[in-house]
């Protein structure tokens, strides 16, 4: 494994993976406990429109994707607070339209066709240093925000009405959270691709939630799981010469199913113990 790190692109890839896991662990936990997975999916896919826009205008990819995702995220946040009943439908519409706009914009851009696959499935092996720096700064800012508002976010996530009664600025916090999700998603697109963003944001927190007793523990465990998946995935993809983004997600998916198996074993064991104690009591 060590000898792999003599290549700069491998070191950058590893750094990107670790950074991504850290941010995904924290933000993914908030996404899962607030049931924002579908909304995050919508943001991730409408980011595609931003990528198309960036190419059409000749802007850097990050700028276009960031602008577009942030805008659509704010619209989705407004929709999901105003008309809760049909929020998922409207997010679904924006999801599809965002992608279509992206493809159309790339179609009408003169010149050569961009390799869209790298944006769908990520290009972790070609993350430049400059992007790493942006990721570190934006990630740091996001984590600071979450740290500062941690208790407010915790209370809002558990019980929005109670939070309101306690004077927590729920509405503003909600928009902030969705904005943070948008920034996170754009950064992740670079690493694992937009198709696979959701998996990295949801699988580690989902597994972690079951085995932890507090949001902090959940965040820490999801960060560690994410790091294990990205590092392991990178190594396997290097050894077997496979697409790294897909391998990372495949590894995370395996972890997900393993945890399900572990769960049912724990449940079975609990039931066995209960039956045993009942038998002892009656016997």
């Amino acid at each position: 494994m060590i000898e792999v790190l003599q290549f700069e692109f491998m070191r950058n890839a590893l750094m990107a993976g670790l950074l991504a896991s850290l941010i995904c662990g924290v933000i993914g936990s908030l996404i899962v406990i607030n049931r924002l997975v579908f909304l995050s999916g919508g943001i991730a896919h409408s980011a595609y429109g931003g990528i198309g826009l960036a190419f059409f205008l000749g802007l850097p990819f990050m700028a276009g994707a960031f602008f577009f995702s942030f805008l659509s995220a704010m619209i989705m946040a407004a929709v999901s607070t105003r008309s809760k009943q049909r929020a998922d439908t409207i997010i679904g519409v924006m999801w599809a339209v965002g992608m279509a706009v992206g493809i159309l914009l790339i179609d009408i851009t003169p010149g050569y066709n961009v390799d869209l696959m790298s944006y769908l499935f990520g290009s972790i092996l070609s993350v430049p240093r400059s992007d790493l720096l942006i990721m570190a700064i934006a990630g740091g800012a996001i984590l600071l925000l979450v740290f500062y508002f941690f208790n407010d976010l915790l209370i809002m996530s558990y019980d929005e009405e109670f939070a309101l009664v306690r004077g927590v600025p729920v509405r503003r916090l909600y928009y902030m959270l969705i904005g943070i999700v948008a920034i996170t998603v754009v950064m992740m697109v670079q690493v694992v691709g937009l198709i696979l963003v959701i998996a990295l944001l949801t699988i580690p927190p989902y597994i972690a939630e079951k085995y932890t007793k507090s949001l902090v523990q959940m965040m820490v465990l999801s960060c560690m799981l994410g790091m294990a998946f990205t590092t392991g995935g990178l190594w396997i993809s290097y050894r077997l010469d496979l697409t790294s983004g897909a391998v990372i997600i495949f590894l995370a998916g395996s972890g997900f199913f393993l945890s399900l198996v572990l769960d049912s074993l724990i449940t079975l064991n609990k039931r066995r113990l209960t039956i045993k104690s009942h038998q002892e009591m009656s016997g």
Binding site: I33, N151, Y158, F162, V165, T212, S214, Q217, M218
Partner: protein, 261 residues
Amino acid sequence: MRNIVAEINDLCFSYSGKEVLHNIDLVVNQGDFIAVVGPNGGGKTTLLKLIVGLLKPTRGKVRLAGGKAPKKGVEIGYVPQQIDHNLSFPATALDVVMMGKHVPEQRLMFNRSRKDRKDGLAALEKMGIAEFADRKISDLSGGQRQRVLIARALVTEPELLVLDEPTASIDSRGQTQFYQLLQGLNKELTILMVSHDLLSVSAYAKSVACVNRRLHYHQAFETSGELLDAVYSCSVYDSCPVTVPFPDSRTSELSKEAAND
């Protein structure tokens, strides 16, 4: 004369063009134990949300009296309807209770946490579930979770405790214990509670407010029998103009008999 805790004057509330509450007047005095009864969709929960400030009235006002901290108004402990939608939430019973201690203006003061913890444990103790403090909330029963939510309201040191159908997920034996517990709490604080369970209401509450778009308040009673009469008479127009039709068969038969008389 007892102190007024909350006063509602000529209040109306409309939601998307439909009037949910009309001309509501209600005075909550210190030490009251008021049960709010009425049909589904009659506006009970809406009334509670107006009182705790989650909704703004279309007309009229909810005035909360000065109490301990006149500037801030009366501290209200709010116990919402059982929230089961976020069951696997990663938090222990104590964590949830300590959420009540959160003051947004002081979010950076970490040194308070030891006292918060002590207060949280004391509130759980009061609710009789201190031994579950470190259990994850998903591992608790519905009744235990309900007590956790009340403990969360108690740590805010409220003068008025507002509960929305607190017994919905508790079995009947648990309910008796639960109401006795509320009765104990009522010695120190004022209680306003939405309930479907009329029999228990008549046994434990001191007065009844019937809500069905309008509100009719049945003042304090001498005996629980009188209160029971008031509760049932709500389905008879003569004695209670709000005319609350009761959903369960036993009471609707009663009201039919009464109507035939």
